[in-house]
Symmetry: D2
Subunit: 95 residues, 4 copies
DNA sequence: AACGCATAAGTAAGAC
DNA sequence: GTCTTACTTATGCGTT
């Protein structure tokens, strides 16, 4: 990192950040974040659109979300959790 | 929409979705969502990295987040809200 | 409600709230909210403690949360969702 | 804690929780959590009601939320954050 | 009834 | 390693 990008000097870098700000670097940071957030937002919209389309075709979005969630999990972990769940259900008379 | 994509027939589309599922369509939906979610996740990581780098350069990530939040708002709306906030603060002796 | 509690007059109640604030009412509102939020926070802590104790006794908190979640749902709704889930899984070869 | 409450034995407590469940203890845990969650839910409703009433009296709920948020912070911390915020704003020409 | 906001819960990362 | 804090997602609520 370029020294010019330092937001504070070395004397009290931890508690007094109110010195030596590089405006150009800060601007660049903000710009990059805003660009990425826009990208993320667009992707989120695209995801919502897919769910919405699926719903329009008679599918249940909530259940599709569940499918997505299940597929994200490690199969072995999933099996374990379901075994424990089954066990607890029985202990509670929910079997 | 193609009829083949219908998850339910026209007789009881609202309450009995358990017929006429097009597996290919459902698979495509799931694939698209998973692809988009991965994209979103990568973007989220990139955002975190920018904050992290900025922090390493002495900037306060929390305040940068606040900056991003403020810039996202409509300036006019923002001014109004701040005016009301100021008013409430005074009414509460927080001025 | 007492007229004195009005935050705005009748001329433009919707868009110009910057008049006629009753400081006492606003203070009361803030006090009530803060009191209730503290209460809520204490309850949340108590819940965490129960999970924590259960974990200490060898139970899996994640699965207990799942149990709680399942019990909150309407049994009929639950059955439907699980039937649809099963259907989708089969369509995706996850059966 | 009573040994009878143990959910697993000492041989493989970490990875095989599927033994020695005390159903009574599990039931008690679930009951306590459900009771506390109901309590929390009621408090949340009461909070919403206060905001709603305030809104009916012409106050802006969003700004009240901001007030609550600000008052929750440590005043010293708050001042510091605002100082940094001011600094960043100036660096970005948002002053 | 659909849309967005706001809360709440679960998850993951970072600090001590 | 624990423990809190922040981010993400999901649900519920109010609004239009």
């Amino acid at each position: 990192m370029d020294n010019a990008s330092c937001a504070s000097n070395t004397v009290n870098a931890d508690e007094n950040p109110i010195q030596d700000i590089d405006p150009g670097y800060l601007q660049a940071v903000v710009d990059r974040i805003e660009r990425l957030e826009e990208e993320k937002s667009e992707t989120a919209t695209a995801i919502r659109d897919v769910y919405s389309e699926a719903k329009g075709n008679g599918f249940d979005p909530k259940v599709i979300r569940e499918i997505i969630r299940l597929r994200k999990q490690d199969p072995h972990e999933l099996d374990e959790q379901e075994a424990i769940l089954h066990l607890y259900k029985q202990a509670l008379g929910m079997g």
